[in-house]
């Protein structure tokens, strides 16, 4: 059975999360097509054609798809699936994929498997439930399987080496139900949280937003991304896109440094698959120490500048 993957992109660049999803499709087996739906996104289709393991790129280039509005893109995907007989529809479990794919599933009258972390067989997958406190093995009973993929659970395929054909999709679905008004995109020269090799995150213990500069200095030395707990985001220290956790971003870097974070289950759900975890907290009873490989009981306002100096 062939798989249709919804490419994650910003109309100019293919996002790395797509490559992890292709890896999940490869684990399922069968031919893989990549859908690039957007506006002025030929460059993305060209990049998509290079990805290892892709047989075909479907390019739907239209103003209706420019902002990934689910009301327009979901019926497009449902139509492609019905016309071409795809057995699987996959997307990265990013906010774009999470917004779009359940709408596709319902249009196809099938269930959705969210956030899978392994492929057991053609119809059986594993996925975390209850903030990662249990891993469920679930079997899809539907003929078409609609799935979002947790990027950290699949090693990305190579972005180059492939030579897929690009086919234009000309049907236009414009439901005229929604319109893009604006966006506030966080600009940063740092690596993206979900693909960074090192992450340093701050919690409520940081005290205010200015103090995150202490973490940024360490991040500069390590080439790290900066993350946060929900409490730090709620308090307005940092923007929402920095939240790591059950209901924020799922990360699994080689090194995760948690600073002034207590280690609530919802936070752990987003980072406990990191290879090495460091915790800096002044409370030696903080639950974060139960998952930390290296724990330092200290006042962060002394320890973090010291860490920066010693790197």
């Amino acid at each position: 059975m062939a798989t249709l993957i919804v490419a994650e992109h910003d109309n100019s660049t293919l996002k790395p999360a797509t490559l992890n999803t292709v890896a999940a499709a490869a684990a399922i087996g069968g031919e893989v097509a990549l859908l690039v739906a957007g506006e002025g996104c030929q460059a993305v289709a060209d990049q998509a054609a290079q990805v290892t393991g892709i047989a075909k790129v479907l390019l739907a280039d239209n103003a209706a798809y420019g902002h990934q509005l689910a009301e327009n893109v979901a019926p497009l995907i449902a139509e492609l699936v019905k016309a071409s007989g795809f057995g699987y529809v996959l997307a990265p479990a990013t906010t774009t994929g999470k917004n779009l794919l359940p709408r596709v599933a319902a249009l196809l009258d099938v269930g959705q498997l969210s956030d899978i972390v392994s492929v057991e067989s053609a119809d059986t997958f594993k996925r975390p439930i209850y903030a990662g406190n249990a891993i469920a093995t679930v079997k899809s009973l539907d003929a078409i399987k609609v799935i979002t993929v947790r990027g950290t659970a699949f090693d990305p395929v190579a972005a180059e080496g492939g030579s897929a054909s690009i086919e234009a999709v000309t049907t236009v679905q414009d439901a005229a139900l929604s319109r893009f008004v604006g966006e506030e995109v966080a600009k940063s020269d740092r690596p993206e949280l979900t693909s960074a090799r090192v992450i340093i995150s701050g919690g409520r213990g940081m005290g205010n937003g200015e103090n995150f500069a202490l973490l940024e200095k360490v991040a500069d030395k390590l080439g790290a991304a900066v993350g946060a707990s929900r409490a730090a985001v709620d308090a307005g220290f940092v923007p929402n896109d920095m939240q790591v956790g059950q209901t924020g971003k799922i990360v699994a870097p080689e090194l995760y440094i948690a600073v002034g974070i207590s280690g609530a289950i919802q936070h752990l759900a987003g980072m406990k698959d990191s290879k090495v975890i460091v915790a800096i907290n002044k409370d030696e009873e903080a639950p974060i120490f139960q998952v930390a490989d290296y724990g330092l009981v200290a006042d962060l306002f002394e320890a973090v500048p010291d860490l920066e100096a010693k790197l």
């Binding site: 009301e71 359940p102 498997l113 439930i129 079997k139 893009f180 080689e254 724990g295």
Partner: protein, 249 residues
């Protein structure tokens, strides 16, 4: 306009759930249950819309066994006007919930339906988007701000890159994110008043919906446990360990 809010009964977010010894499912026996936190935010938003004169009535719906009436009463105590309980033997999966809710939407004609973005038990994050598909309505997921403006609602969404604002044609489906509001606590008088508010009980058959399984749970297992680590005595020792032992810097 009417606002429809959905609430799911889930385990309390402070509870760390355990897998049953036979690994058939998680163990929910004697576990504290509560309103899904994202649904609490949904109820609060609906009540604020009523207080602001935008909503005329707030209807709360929950689907599941009889016990979910407890969560409906909680929502009524927080300010919802009336409740609908769709009674099922077990908690249905997201697509079934969406199909049942679509019937309620067809009956009640709400201007806005507010759901949580995610149930903290299944961690599905699907129902609102599925409901939007089934009703053919617009969707504003992961909302951190909701502003009704004429025949449109402006929804600011928490997305991976930051914030995005969409204009949605009403009626619309909205799902809540954490920063939308800070839910109030129910006062004792309001808890008493909630006991007298109307609560309708319906079956899926009453709504003409036949529930079908799409996903089968084959079993659950506990996650890989992390080995406890060590405490280091100083920043110097930490840096040394990261360099020569863990080799990550």
């Amino acid at each position: 306009m009417k606002v429809l809010v959905t609430v799911k009964r889930v385990l309390d977010y402070n509870v760390k759930v355990r897998v049953k010894a036979d690994r058939s499912d998680v163990d929910l026996a004697n576990v504290k249950m509560a309103l899904n936190p994202f649904c609490e935010i949904a109820v609060e938003e609906a009540v604020r819309l009523k207080e602001a004169g935008v909503a005329t009535e707030v209807i709360v719906v929950s689907i599941g066994p009889k016990a979910v009436q407890e969560q409906i009463r909680t929502a009524l105590a927080l300010g919802a006007d009336r409740g609908i309980h769709i009674e099922t033997d077990t908690m249905p999966e997201s697509l079934s919930v969406a199909k049942l809710l679509a019937k309620v939407v067809a009956d009640e004609h709400p201007g806005l339906v507010i759901l949580g973005k995610q149930a903290i038990d299944s961690d599905n994050n699907q129902t609102g988007q599925m409901l939007a598909a089934l009703t053919g309505l617009s969707q504003g997921t992961f909302a951190s701000e909701v502003k009704v403006d004429g025949d449109e609602v402006l929804v600011t969404r928490e997305v991976d890159g930051g914030l995005q604002t969409l204009g949605l044609k009403l009626p619309a489906i909205v799902t809540t994110d954490l920063r939308l509001n800070e839910p109030r606590y129910a006062s004792l008088p309001n808890i008493m008043k909630a006991k007298k508010k109307p609560l309708d009980v319906k079956s899926p058959a009453d709504l003409g919906v036949e529930l079908r399984a799409h996903i089968e749970l084959l079993g659950v297992e506990p996650p890989a446990e992390r080995q406890g680590g060590i405490k280091v005595g100083s920043v110097a020792e930490l840096v040394e360990k990261l360099k020569s032992e863990a080799k990550v810097i």
